[in-house]
Symmetry: C2
Subunit: 143 residues, 2 copies
Amino acid sequence: MTLDLQPGQKLARGVARHLASHGFVSVEEFVPARGLRVDVMGLGPKGELWVIECKSCRADYQADSKWEGYLDWCDRFFWAVDIEFPTDLLPTRTGLIIADAYDAEIIRMGPEDKIAPARRKKMIQKFAMDAARRLRTLRDPRL
Amino acid sequence: MTLDLQPGQKLARGVARHLASHGFVSVEEFVPARGLRVDVMGLGPKGELWVIECKSCRADYQADSKWEGYLDWCDRFFWAVDIEFPTDLLPTRTGLIIADAYDAEIIRMGPEDKIAPARRKKMIQKFAMDAARRLRTLRDPRL
């Protein structure tokens, strides 16, 4: 199952499993708004929205110029990296998750900065449509 | 793909395809509240919620004593039946969809009776979590 995943996708899978243990669901490569694509968007039982960016190595992190734009689309923001990653590079005012392909652990919670109710409503609607569309594509590939 | 589906599931697949052509997504066997399970819950781009009950034959319809309980959980209610079904049996104040395993057509729109905003919000949240959880189960069966 894991052999054909890219390094970032392996992290994303471990993150998704860990989020599930918190009662969160998630979708990968979610587009909150045009031009933005987050690695993992997590949705909690009370409508909490968490963005998790998965970085496989230093270069992968340093090439990311967009992440600050994601802060406006979530209540909490996290980096997910593997155990070898030089975490000193990461801004301390962000969350930190150590992950592998099989599981993950939240080392530092991202500080909470709640998004506005209207945007939350729009994001949950978009999340619902996106997840259902992907589910349908897997179940009925003709669509 | 269709051989292992029950008659009601074939109708549900055709319904889902047709809903997609209206910009709706859907999940099957959705549970809006304890003790209720609708065949298809459709979610529209503006948060519209449609319930579609799929009936494969007269006996299947006549055995359903719960459908009126579903009206409180959607903006519109429809029956989906195949072309052979005696549609005169169905209440005229409900929507009607003629379906097969491959497609469907809305013959009569269900009258609109909008659900309350708080319930809509709760249903869309539930729909999102349900669709994402099923998607995850297909993509990562270990969960």
